[in-house]
Symmetry: C2
Subunit: 516 residues, 2 copies
Amino acid sequence: MNHGTALLWKRRALSSLSATRRGLPKEKMSENGMVSRAKVLTIDTMNPTVKKVEYAVRGPIVQRAVELERELSEGMKKPFAEVIKANIGDAHAMGQQPITFFRQVLALCSYPELLNDSTFPEDAKSRAHRILQSCGGNSMGSYSASQGIDSVRQDVARYIERRDGGVHCDPDDIYLTTGASDGIVTMLKLLMCGEGAARTGVMISIPQYPLYSAALAELGAVQINYYLNEEKCWSMDISELQRALDEARQYCNPRALCIINPGNPTGQVQSRECIEDVIRFAAKERLFLMADEVYQDNVYADGCQFHSFKKVLFEMGPEYSNTVELASFHSTSKCYMGECGFRGGYMEIINMDDDVKAQLTKLVSVRLCPPVPGQALMDLVVNPPQPGEPSYDNFIKERTATLSTLAEKAKLTEQVLNTVQGISCNPVQGAMYSFPRITIPEKAIKEAMDIGQQPDMFYCMKMLEETGICLVPGSGFGQKDGTYHFRMTILPPTDKLQILLNKVKEFHQKFTHQYS
Amino acid sequence: MNHGTALLWKRRALSSLSATRRGLPKEKMSENGMVSRAKVLTIDTMNPTVKKVEYAVRGPIVQRAVELERELSEGMKKPFAEVIKANIGDAHAMGQQPITFFRQVLALCSYPELLNDSTFPEDAKSRAHRILQSCGGNSMGSYSASQGIDSVRQDVARYIERRDGGVHCDPDDIYLTTGASDGIVTMLKLLMCGEGAARTGVMISIPQYPLYSAALAELGAVQINYYLNEEKCWSMDISELQRALDEARQYCNPRALCIINPGNPTGQVQSRECIEDVIRFAAKERLFLMADEVYQDNVYADGCQFHSFKKVLFEMGPEYSNTVELASFHSTSKCYMGECGFRGGYMEIINMDDDVKAQLTKLVSVRLCPPVPGQALMDLVVNPPQPGEPSYDNFIKERTATLSTLAEKAKLTEQVLNTVQGISCNPVQGAMYSFPRITIPEKAIKEAMDIGQQPDMFYCMKMLEETGICLVPGSGFGQKDGTYHFRMTILPPTDKLQILLNKVKEFHQKFTHQYS
């Protein structure tokens, strides 16, 4: 899927070929009589699965964006004054403000002397006190239990119960993680087994978030692509799941099905019916379900609602709720808080075999524990100020402001992009991205192919060079052959987003004109 | 090596055998007519390499310690009033206080409103200001570059140059990590390659820190054991390295040599001569060097000094400094700061092939970035208050107090343990552990074997049940056949350590008497 990216990495590798002294004998005398040894670790002798890993969200286009930023700062003249990184869901970097209460508690936990400071609200102090009480030596500097701090896992369990209308949640099924990525990779790791045609296959949506393809490549698993239905607002289609599965069964052992809901990069919110169908499919086909639900608070479109896989599973009755194995992932990085840098997250595992769970607990213990500040933050997300507490009103005000601004920006993005001939954009129902389809003229496609780039990489690179806007080409996420897209976050402040959208519009018109 | 541990895990697995419904057909009707499906993921169908992973520092003995704590808190009567966890280098959990300056800066970074608070010293504010300036949107909630924040990597490079007497360090060779463990696993991952007799082998010391054996098991690499010389204070012996290497070459492809200095669990500090010998050996045998130097400030014994592998390498001249590939690891978790929970760390890579480095950068980008609070903390460790700054005197006072107390406790531990007949303890020259050798009577060995436990696990379990002291058996780290040890941290406060050592003494005498 990511030919353009792969070629860029390869070119980079080839350009420094001379430095690697490939094919040299083990030792040779250089001119000055010095022994020159061949490297132990070269591109030819390194881990082959690592070489297969690709991660478009931070790939060559982002590296070029960083270079451009440096060139700008060094005074080099460009057709733009700043680089706008709309490539990654990094809310604070785009100017979103942290939730005051969360940061007050983190400051109190970092420097408990502040518990004596009367300017901090009492509810922030009591949360900090509770977190510190759960830390060894009352310090965030202690290791926590590998599964995460007990009291935080209890708070997570109560949060899930509230979210899911009372469906029971056992804190022992909660594992705190270093962001959601950590949990996802850990679960995939457990599922790896078999060789050749018995090798573990994992179903992922196309388009997908490239953590999945990267992790599967690194683990040596088979990636099974099922396509989302762009014509029906990126919904899931059971017949497509069946097609993908049946084909894959001929060459691997499909064991898991990954769903991202709300969708990344596609921004859709799956309906309750669709989730039921997926659960029935997983039960029938014996697939372990992995539900990436990190955007669970990011739902904007009228009539759309977030349904957790857990809740739907339990509402389907014991035939499903007692049997279907499910892991659900959440994070501090998205929703209204956008605290990516703290690397907080959790996973809930349901119906996992007891022996496997013991192995999971053992496995996570090797890395000691997730970062404690991230655990503390996760605790605040699942246990925010309550009505009657001093910080409640301000918390609600801040959260509502962020979420309603995001809803506005989701609408704005869809509207503006759909005014452009050659761009068509599904509604951004949720998450933080639009993933519009773009028409690329034949002449541009040919020129891209001639230089070994995917056409949408060619398009995005040109846009970056001409406008300073950094997007990620659709080929980095996967897309139906012959279609082209880009992913753009809706995170820039509204006025900047308006400018950005207009620039995209102008660029697209110019590009189309140039190559027609 | 870890038979006792392995057996305990296995027993746990067997005890829940009924729950896993192994060997059942895919679906069967239960009595109430409900479909009961076999699990997708069972102990038989999970990742086999994960099953091989063992991690003694958080293994069954620690789980039992946690159970005992709960039983105590529920009012159950025990022969002790509290569980003392001397199993892990978790300084703050043992009562060590954080460095005030570090925590002030972290609080300022967490809640920048505090920059207006006049009670915070100016140097803390200027550090916080500099860190925030390097964060997207001036927030620790933003993702950083995957390799780590630029300015932090610059500070790390300058720290290394100061430490190593001016040897050049390029910030581009620094990768910030999620604790040292993360860096070590990443480097090992890059080195994996080949199958069968061409499979990557990695040399690790015995005794070792079990992160290494766990990571190698998970990656499917061959673990090559070289023994430290207990009779010569756990020093390294080139002839032993050669023996281990020559034997291993018959069944794998040895590619890397790992050294922990100062030593964990053994507490030795390697001499400059020894390090030179090791470098020469690595050069001759074409091995990638991995130097785990997380205890670089923890050196207590007279005449001992920390020598970084990098410095020695560069002092050996270009024949070595231009060719030998080295990765060195550091962390915020140990030394005088002991900030384990923040999961901060860095690695420096030297003479790495450019292509491999590009692959490394790509690989770390999949996990987005190390936790930013941990990066901030790493920055403070490498750039602490300077003479003339307002926080300097207090910083020096706190650091000196911690390190000199540790030095005292290192001496105390060695002294007391060596008064016990049947315990013999090398000097704790550095790090945070003693690893004394214990004599276990034949009768106890037999009893342990009869219940499928390693004799030192049997010994430590008995000690835990009778005294509440949680140590890690030597078999969890590896030891010469027929010898037995335990690892004990020197971290408890001096008065508590004194009590603990006396309890160990009494227990050992009683145990020896009981089984003689």
